[in-house]
């Protein structure tokens, strides 16, 4: 498989007048085309910081990372961060407007996505009239409207209740697989990581670096909900649990 991102020895610290907190120290890993990679670790270990650095929002770090040619990343946050004064369609095309790609072809593509993922009848609805799961789907379509081939997901399901969470992780898994997008997801939820990922990367406690990487090999791998029933699930769960805890 082609390597599309290599992260090299990243160091990041937060400084304030009371002292310095080293969040990341010597973080290196690779990401391959088409995979679903989860990064897990205890809370406060700098998981979101990694995504902020990779997406170019945080430029205050040492070390380096490099995308392969033609890789255009996008990012979906923990909160849906939708704009309540806009309709569903207006929300999903906001990235196109900013990137000056607001033309008929791309708008049609967004409409096609909305139709394909069950939001056709809600295109002209204001955001507040949608359920939590639907909002999360809108947020994902906004993220992929600009046709990225790599997306970062930051705890994308954590604001949802358990039922919705399972359903939405299925939805989102389906969407990224069908649209052929590589994913780096940050989460602290072990079951979620196992059920959606091809590989899981465990971070050490602060300052974080890569502690271990697991290839998740489940028999009859299908949807995230079904994957939870795989016989190997518990095995990975225990391993990851121990790794995070130590």
């Amino acid at each position: 498989m082609n390597k599309i991102l290599s992260v090299n020895n990243i160091f990041k610290s937060y400084n304030n007048k009371n002292g310095e907190v080293v969040a990341i120290d010597g973080l290196s890993f690779d990401v391959f085309e088409g995979e679903f990679l989860s990064i897990i670790g205890s809370s406060g270990c700098g998981k979101s910081t990694i995504l902020n650095i990779l997406s170019g929002l945080d430029k205050d770090y040492e070390g380096s990372y490099k995308f392969a040619d033609g890789i255009t990343p996008s990012y979906m946050l923990q909160e849906d961060a939708l704009f309540p004064w806009l309709t569903v369609l207006e929300n999903t095309v906001i990235g196109l407007k900013i990137q000056k790609k607001y033309n008929k072809e791309n708008i049609d593509y967004v409409k096609h996505l909305l139709t394909k993922y069950g939001l056709k009848d809600f295109m002209d609805t204001k955001i507040n009239n949608l359920s939590g799961g639907m909002k999360q789907r809108v947020a994902l379509i906004r993220t992929i409207a600009t046709k990225p081939n790599l997306i970062f997901l930051d705890e994308p399901f954590s604001a949802l209740d358990y039922q919705t969470r399972l359903k939405v992780s299925d939805d989102i898994y389906k969407i990224v697989k069908e649209e052929n997008i590589t994913v780096i997801m940050v989460t602290h939820n072990i079951s979620e990581a196992i059920s959606v990922s091809d590989r899981v990367l465990v971070l050490s406690k602060r300052p974080s670096r890569v502690k271990s990487i697991y290839e998740i090999q489940l028999s009859n791998k299908t949807t995230p909900i079904n994957n939870r029933k795989a016989p190997e699930f518990q095995y990975y769960y225990d391993k990851l649990w121990k790794d995070i805890d130590e």
Partner: protein, 260 residues
């Protein structure tokens, strides 16, 4: 509709009706007592005036043809001050939002200026700008603009961080962040500030007219008190009440129209 719902609606309507009734009735009562006390010579109408006399005075002022002029002067000045305040406070709030350092530097000065009674600046304004309309308008702006800046810039600063982050991820410029997130998130706060500004501007204009003017409702009131014509003073106050009610209802209907 269920019985309980019907009962609830009935109670609800009765309550609303009661509130409206007491509101109107108490106004009529106060006016009535005032009128009666005046008619039966319990109070000295020379210094208290009375409702029917106020009404007659207003009608006469209309007939003499210059009341409209005075109202227009005050209303016009208020609106000019209102628009300038609105534009200036949004622009300065944008500036403070863009520069955290500037906002920190300026913060204590805003607080001090806010508590300064602006009317104290009146003499300076008259000397610097002149005894004219400009001074009156500047006075009203000074009274309203600082509170307005403070409330709008707090709103700007509290704009949802995730929404801004999303726009940054797409590569939005500072201007686009303002246009797509900061300003629309704060429509409500801006309209609210405008609501307060109409009142403050009217206060400022009347204060300015007290200091220096040849026309306007403030001038009428001041003139009335100087010639000891309390009917005129009271009429001026009533007209001000009507103007402020009018301005408030205009802003309220704009607010409803904006649906925010």
């Amino acid at each position: 509709m269920s019985k309980r719902q019907e009962l609830f609606l009935k109670k609800y309507k009765r309550k609303q009706l009661f509130i409206k009734f007491v509101q109107i009735f108490s106004a009529i009562l106060v006016l009535g007592i005032w009128e009666m006390l005046a008619r039966f010579n319990f109070i000295d109408t020379f210094i208290t005036s009375y409702p029917s006399k106020i009404f007659i005075t207003i009608v006469n002022l209309f007939k003499e043809g210059n009341l409209i002029h005075h109202i227009m002067v005050t209303l016009g000045e208020t609106l000019i001050a209102f628009f300038i305040t609105g534009v200036v406070s949004v622009l300065i709030s944008i500036l403070l939002y863009r520069s955290e350092i500037l906002s920190k530097i300026i913060d204590p000065y805003l607080t001090i200026l806010n508590s300064l009674p602006k009317v104290a600046l009146g003499p300076i304004l008259i000397i610097w700008i002149g005894a004219n309309k400009k001074s009156i308008i500047v006075m009203a702006i000074l009274i309203s603009v600082i509170v307005s800046i403070q409330s709008i810039s707090v709103g700007f600063k509290n704009t949802n961080k995730s929404r801004i982050k999303i726009l940054k991820i797409f590569g939005a410029s500072e201007w686009e962040i303002l246009k797509y997130a900061v300003i629309p998130s704060n429509y409500k706060i801006i309209v609210n500030a405008c609501k307060i500004n109409t009142g403050l501007c009217l206060i400022g204009i009347v204060m300015g007219e007290f200091l220096t003017s040849k026309s306007g409702i403030g001038y009428l009131i001041l003139y009335g008190s100087q010639v000891f014509n309390l009917d005129l003073v009271m009429s001026g106050i009533v007209i001000l009440l009507i103007i402020s009610m009018l301005l408030y209802s205009v802003i309220s209907s704009i607010e409803k129209h904006l649906d925010c």
